[in-house]
Amino acid sequence: MNEEALGWVIRTRDPEFADWEAFTQWLEADSGHAAAYDALMMADAGLADILPDGAATIAAPANDPGQRGWRPVRWRGSWIAAGAVAAVLVAAISIGVMNRADIYSVTTKPGETRTIALDDGTRVEMNGGTTMRFDRHDSRFAALDSGEAAFMVRHDGSKPFRVTVGDAVFEDAGTVFNIVHSGHATRIGVSEGKVIYNPEAEAIALPAGRALSDDESGLRVMDIAADAVASWRHGRLTYANVPVTQISADIARSLGVRLTATPGAGTMRFTGTIRLDRDPERFFAGAAPLMGLTAVKQGDGWLLKEGDGPPR
């Protein structure tokens, strides 16, 4: 493969490319350059057959100079219950001792929240259905094993606060951020300061207003409204074009209800804010129509199905 020609393919494909004179000079330097460039441009066009169409990310018009070109969709802000304080009081928190004596784990049940105050002044607010590990002798360490938590980190440049999530590490740089981890998917939103994703590997910097998600469809970064980060602490669920499957997992975690969605309902997407309510009947009566869905009680759980609204 002609490396130089490849370089020019990439450069001229950039919507901001402007140095056509340098390109002309390169072409003139050797009569074979134009052919090599054409061949690689054809190969580039051919890649369209084997590339995913990017549907998962919904790009804005790529060359619209007014926007950064990317309105995010996959990120979800989170939410939780108005009764958070009460929930903490009654929460049955299991504190398990790990094999290492200084590591302890904290688990909240679905519908419960808990605030962990670390010695250095950092606060971690755990949402329902969440398991985390902390180190008694190292207040700059936390691990999110599953669930969701918001972090208000007291920054110390000489000793950064680090959260491990599966194989990934998030390192703060003076920061308020929220992480959700379920199955193989991880999502983080940053509302203040900056977080570094995997500082020793990819080292992706996430400033305030940015979010990152890593799931089976790959790693993405996107924008997030700062007030949508950890909105669960204010009794809300805030979403921008998020599939209902993800939303129902959040609702289940927040309210402590068993909730499933029919396949049809699960693939639908919702944008907006859902107010949480401790009373499931009242909550679903308001929230389901908001999403264009119907909620029915099934035994000890709930089912979200496609709405009874006008046929589409």
Partner: protein, 187 residues
């Protein structure tokens, strides 16, 4: 939705431009554009291509354009790519005719059989796996650039890495993807 079409044709969308005098800029830079088309391999057709461009500019009344000169260069470059593409296609068709011993050729783009669809999906999977194997950042950079049509400078800012890093990631991803595509095409 589909990714950006090849050769960034939305750059030709006039609605995003603001300045004035595209035709004037064309006339001022005619020699440079001619030189570009010659270098690009248009040979004796260069003058004709410029004439085509001029007609298009006049007929379409594109109105004001923000970065008129890069816009004109890109227009010229796209003309050359179109030429190359149709020449390759013609060549291939003639070859197919010869090999087909005069049989009726179906338009290859007409309909895709179910088997082909399966192969297509398999290839998508394979491409995704190759991209994944290059590491998350390379994958992310390539996806942003090639599928979502975002510029390198913007990507570098988003990731908080240098422009050089983004360039290197793209080279790496492109090498792997083009090699994969070539391998698939010979299968």
């Amino acid at each position: 939705m589909a990714g950006p079409r090849p050769f960034a044709p939305d750059l030709l969308d006039p609605s995003r431009f603001m300045a004035t005098g595209l035709s004037a800029i064309f006339l001022q830079n005619r020699p440079a554009l001619l030189r570009f088309l010659r270098a690009r391999g248009a040979g004796e057709d260069s003058e004709d291509l410029l004439q085509d461009m001029w007609m298009k500019l006049e007929a379409k009344d594109l109105g004001p354009v923000a970065d008129p000169l890069p816009y004109l260069y890109r227009m010229a470059n796209n003309l050359m790519l179109d030429r190359y593409r149709s020449a390759t296609r013609r060549e291939r068709r003639e070859q197919d005719w010869a090999e087909g011993a005069g049989g009726v050729m179906a338009d290859p783009s007409e309909d895709i059989a179910i088997d082909d669809r399966l192969i297509l999906n398999q290839r998508l999977e394979e491409a995704r796996a190759v991209l994944r194997s290059l590491g998350p950042r390379v994958e992310l950079v390539f996806r942003r650039f090639r599928i979502e049509g975002v510029g390198q400078r913007t990507i570098a800012e988003e990731l908080g890495v240098s422009l050089t890093t983004v360039e290197k990631d793209l080279q790496k991803a492109y090498r792997a993807m083009i090699a994969l595509k070539r391998k698939m095409d010979t299968e």
